[in-house]
């Protein structure tokens, strides 16, 4: 079986090389047969990588410890679902998984473009195959998933218990999907540069891919934060660790890209900027893998430090140089005839929103690589921790939220003063009122007051937009309000889905601000029967329950939670678990979540007698809204991605500019 995996990966590599040659030769020499065969080669490559994945999955499920990978990341006692997720539990497997996703997405892109974009698609597919070649070279020669062990152990060393968690089962695939799907718009951007077809065709053809990528990056970051919150037991969800930053930076850049392409589609401006952003987004996905795999930047998540770093760095540098050279080569054709006319215009708001997002990404990047830079320049490693990231990104986030309120309501090109007053009077009033109420409620931190006011202002602007749209509909067709709302969103899903994402972002922002500024913490050692208080809650430690199974040993504390009037609300049971193989303790946090605040109880330690326990308890206001906001962002993105008849028509119109073949048109419009 393992030989089958190796063979499949070798054939996949050959097919990837062939598809590049055939795509370029076929397009250059006007030999469509070669382009078709290149497409088939891509599909065959995908089939080969799929075989390799199935082989590895089979080995994991059958606990075939003759494979080094299986012996290292699985065991006979590992629950089946985690045998499945062990595919991305280790380096070789996660690279294989990455390559698999890439080959699937490349195949889908090849299918979508079998009649569309005849000029740039072959080059885009060649770029995608080029990226696949890099990963296949790694899998074939550098970090081989099907290497065998000389002596077969009777038992594997198991997956890290911290990773045996459902969030960890879904977080890596989400993040990888987001990372890898960003390659498709990048490839089309590169193809536009190579061919000189620099209109917005490449953006339109890959708009869905970009949103798809953003969707999964959002999910991946949210799942990761949720995992940290539930599993790591320090009461927080984000620590600005290099590994987290590596996932956050592509998200920021993709967010900027999704906004700035709207300006190109509308105003034919910012061509260089958009091409640079998508290049940057792709580069950051490679950079993320580089820093987590190279050990160059020390992280609390110490992944296996492997020899992969130099390969990824070389690939990253090659891609960056080639892409920059293309941008410079095409710079004359990329000049835009249109110009910004006024600060009071939507394009200006979008431009500044882009600056903020890229600014945050840059600050995060700088803080992440600062230890390496300082060591190179000054000979000593200087690190910056969460205080740095919070200090820089706090004010930038406020600016971003402010622009989020301005952007959607302000007119393209320029806005008159009367227009401004009409659009913003109500939202500004809502914002100011919220600030006053918050101050009256005893909040004194200027940052929190500003943040809450701005958040209310943005929600106000979105409400104004929804009301406007509904009134316009009800003016044309008489509908009940609810129906008008549904139709409004359904008929303009791109726009109103975007607003739903904005609402979600604001809700999450409020959750982040509230949980960062108002978290309280109590650490206490108590005997059974004793109690202590946090906020308005009284916690009474009732005692420990011990269990012992072949897989693990655990001690669970029973903690009664009482209200000020003495009524019991609930019993929480934080636990300490000791896994037997590998021998490793872990903490099971107990969380009681309400919209107002989360009560987060950690059993930090127990003494040998079992009578005294040490608790670390956090009371975190509003953190609930971070997850609620994340959910709304996800729902909004689904609305945006929902297939829309009008958009198909727009794609058809755009295509008619490129091609005159009516049959192709019909196929493309129907096959999206």
């Amino acid at each position: 079986m393992p030989q089958l995996g190796n063979l499949a990966l070798a054939i996949a590599l050959i097919l990837a090389v062939y598809s590049i040659v055939a795509n370029i030769y076929g397009t250059r020499r006007n030999a469509p047969d070669f382009v078709v065969s290149a497409r088939h080669a891509i599909w065959a490559m995908c089939a080969m990588v799929t075989i390799a994945v199935v082989v590895l999955w089979t080995a994991l499920l059958r606990s075939d410890f003759s494979l080094e990978y299986v012996a290292a990341y699985s065991s006979t006692t590992l629950p089946t679902v985690y045998k499945f997720t062990s595919l991305w539990g280790g380096q070789q497997g996660s690279l294989l998984f990455w390559t698999w996703l890439l080959s699937i997405f490349t195949s889908i892109a090849a299918f979508q473009n079998r009649r569309r974009n005849p000029e740039i698609a072959p080059y885009a597919l060649a770029v995608l195959a080029g990226v696949a070649i890099f990963f296949l070279l790694m899998l074939n020669f550098v970090t081989r998933p099907f290497d065998l062990l000389a002596t077969v152990p009777a038992e594997g060393s198991d997956l890290n218990p911290l990773l045996q968690n459902y969030w960890m089962a879904i977080h890596p695939p989400s993040l990888y999907t987001g990372y890898v799907s960003a390659t498709v718009p990048f490839a089309f951007g590169a193809a536009a540069l190579i061919t000189g077809k620099l209109d917005d065709g490449w953006i339109r053809s890959t708009r869905r891919w970009a949103i798809f990528s953003w969707f999964f990056l959002t999910l991946g970051n949210m799942f990761g934060a949720r995992w940290a919150y539930e599993v790591l037991g320090w009461g927080g969800y984000w620590a600005w660790d290099p590994v987290e930053n590596a996932a956050f930076m592509p998200w920021l850049v993709m967010t900027a890209y999704l906004h700035s392409v709207m300006i190109q589609e509308r105003k034919d401006m910012l061509k260089v900027w958009n091409l640079s952003l998508i290049g940057l987004a792709f580069g950051l996905t490679l950079f993320g893998t580089f820093i987590t795999r190279s050990g160059v930047i020390s992280s609390v998540h110490s992944f296996t430090q492997s020899g992969l770093g130099p390969y990824f760095l070389s690939f990253l540098i090659t891609v960056t140089l080639a892409y920059t050279a293309l941008l410079i080569f095409r710079s004359k054709q990329l000049r835009s005839p249109a110009e910004f006319e006024s600060y009071l215009s939507r394009e200006a708001a979008f431009l500044f929103n882009n600056l903020m997002l890229v600014g945050i990404a840059f600050a995060v990047f700088w803080g992440t690589i600062f230890p390496v830079l300082s060591e190179a320049v000054r000979g000593v490693k200087i690190t910056v921790g969460p205080p740095f990231f919070n200090r820089v990104n706090g004010p930038l986030a406020l600016g971003l939220v402010f622009l989020m309120g301005i952007g959607p309501l302000i007119a393209w090109r320029r806005t008159t003063t009367s227009n401004l007053v009409r659009s913003f009077a109500a939202p500004v009033a809502i914002g100011v009122a919220t600030g006053i109420v918050a101050a009256a409620a005893g909040i004194r931190q200027w940052y929190v007051l500003t943040a809450f006011s701005l958040a209310a202002f943005v929600l106000g602007t979105v409400l104004v937009e929804f009301r406007r749209g509904m009134n316009a509909r009800r003016h044309l067709v008489s509908e009940p309000r609810a129906k008008a709302l549904v139709n409004l969103v359904a008929k303009n899903n791109r726009r109103y889905g975007g607003y739903i994402i904005h609402i979600g972002t604001i809700v999450a922002f409020v959750g982040i601000v509230g949980s960062s500024f108002f978290r309280t913490e109590v650490k206490k050692s108590v005997h059974a029967g004793e109690s202590f208080t946090i906020g308005s809650y009284t916690l009474r430690f009732q005692g420990l329950e011990q269990t012992d199974t072949p897989h693990l040993e655990s001690a669970t504390a029973l903690v009664e939670v009482l209200r000020p009037d003495g009524r019991e609300i609930t019993v929480m049971s934080p636990a300490k678990v000791f896994f037997k193989r590998p021998q490793q303790p872990a903490t099971k946090v107990a969380i009681r979540s309400t919209p107002a605040s989360d009560l987060y109880v950690v059993l930090a330690g127990i003494d040998d007698s079992g009578q005294t326990a040490t608790f670390e308890v956090f009371l975190t206001p509003l953190v609930f809204w971070l997850w609620a906001g994340g959910l709304m962002m996800v729902l909004g993105t689904v609305v945006v991605m929902w297939p829309n008849v009008r958009e198909r028509a727009a794609i058809a119109t755009a295509l008619s500019r490129q091609s005159t073949n009516a049959r192709e048109l019909a196929d493309a419009a129907g096959g999206d």
Partner: protein, 149 residues
């Protein structure tokens, strides 16, 4: 209509503001990230400064008082790694270069154990002990197959 230069002013101002934020924040929040060996070499100049030290927990002499949440241990240099990725030698109780670490008021990290790699954040006192505000154990998200055998 030549409004373009005005835009460059706006863009420039924002870029400048962001750069200033980054620059000033780095100055106020940075701390030295050192290995145990480096701390030993620069001990005289580090007194009272915030530092982050990467090292390995030395076996023996580890004290944990759950009532006061006080953890005391010694931190030794992380041994070099040979070509195959295996450590050249284990950390032993008699390592010559090591620092006493005292962490008060924080729970003991789950993964804390003799021989584990830790990152200690705190200040180096005049007595040569590190008063830790935080002890982080590296989480081995991925096991190394060779060590697992």
């Amino acid at each position: 209509m030549r409004i373009r230069p005005r835009f460059f002013i706006g863009v420039g101002l924002i870029a400048l503001a962001i750069s200033y934020l980054i620059f000033s924040s780095i100055r106020t929040t940075s701390e030295y990230y050192l290995t145990v060996t480096e701390v030993a070499a620069r001990q005289s100049e580090l007194g009272g400064q915030s530092i982050r030290v990467a090292g390995r927990v030395k076996p023996g002499n580890i004290g944990w008082d759950p009532n006061s949440l006080t953890l005391k241990f010694e931190i030794a240099p992380i041994p070099d790694i040979d070509a195959s990725g295996a450590p050249v030698r284990p950390v032993v109780a008699s390592d010559p270069v090591s620092f006493r670490v005292i962490s008060a008021g924080e729970p003991k990290p789950d993964m804390f154990a003799p021989g584990r790699d830790v990152i200690v954040e705190g200040k180096l006192g005049p007595d040569g002990a590190i008063a830790a505000t935080q002890v982080m154990t590296s989480c081995p998200s991925k096991y190394k197959p060779k060590q697992a055998q």
